[in-house]
């Protein structure tokens, strides 16, 4: 019974580590392979974040089931990475747009104010007046 549990734990940890490794590989390979900067933005921000999540969950399961010590650090790191990845992607996209995309190539925003990268944010005075 105990032997079976250890085997199950090893299987589970190995599966998480391998899936995490594959996702990390795909993310970094996409960063290398894709052609345009806006396309390259997708691979690391989604796939690599998921891969690190897999590796962290595998590590948490390893310490929980084999070393039998609970650690919540991995969960904290995973949460932090998952929260900050979209913010990073947004900032990198804005940086790219400011340097390499001309404003007249973009479609109309359909509002009174233009794209946030090129125009200043609407102040409260102009909205009221």
């Amino acid at each position: 019974m105990d032997q079976d549990m250890t085997l199950l734990a090893e299987l589970l940890v190995s599966a998480f580590l391998i899936v995490g490794g594959i996702f990390g590989f795909v993310g970094s390979f996409g960063l290398l392979k894709l052609k345009h900067t806006m396309q390259r933005l997708h691979a690391p921000t989604k796939a690599t974040t998921l891969g690190v999540g897999g590796a962290l969950i595998g590590s948490m399961l390893y310490f929980l089931m084999i070393e039998s010590s609970v650690s919540f650090h991995e969960l904290l790191i995973t949460l932090f990475l998952f929260i900050t990845a979209p913010i990073t992607a947004n900032f990198v996209a804005k940086t790219f747009m400011q340097g390499d995309v001309v404003e007249r190539e973009l479609p109309d925003t359909g509002r009174a104010f233009g794209w946030a990268v090129y125009d200043d944010p609407p102040s409260e005075k102009t909205e009221e007046g």
Partner: protein, 89 residues
């Protein structure tokens, strides 16, 4: 079995570090280079975690937590510097 899975994951993230280094050196735009640095930080966090599992110690979690925070702040600082010419306005 865990040893082989760890070796596989090490190989994957090691390749990831090399790929981000290549993109950092050759990336045509500044945004590419910032993205490569951010991905490099994420790959390095994964490598640290895997090394912690390999050695069976929980010491490396604090280090990877700190690296995650510093990596995020540095990415935002780089982007702010290119976007506005200043980090804190």
């Amino acid at each position: 079995m865990i040893t082989y899975a760890l070796i596989f994951a090490f190989a994957c993230y090691g390749f990831g570090l090399l790929a981000t280094l290549w993109r950092l050196l050759t990336g045509p735009t500044a945004a590419d280079r910032i993205l490569a640095l951010d991905t490099m930080v994420i790959n390095f966090i994964a490598l640290l975690i895997l090394y912690g599992v390999w050695r069976g110690t929980a010491i490396y979690f604090e280090a990877s937590m700190l690296i995650a925070m510093v990596g995020f702040v540095s990415t935002v600082a780089f982007c702010r510097f290119i976007l506005r010419g200043d980090i804190i306005e």
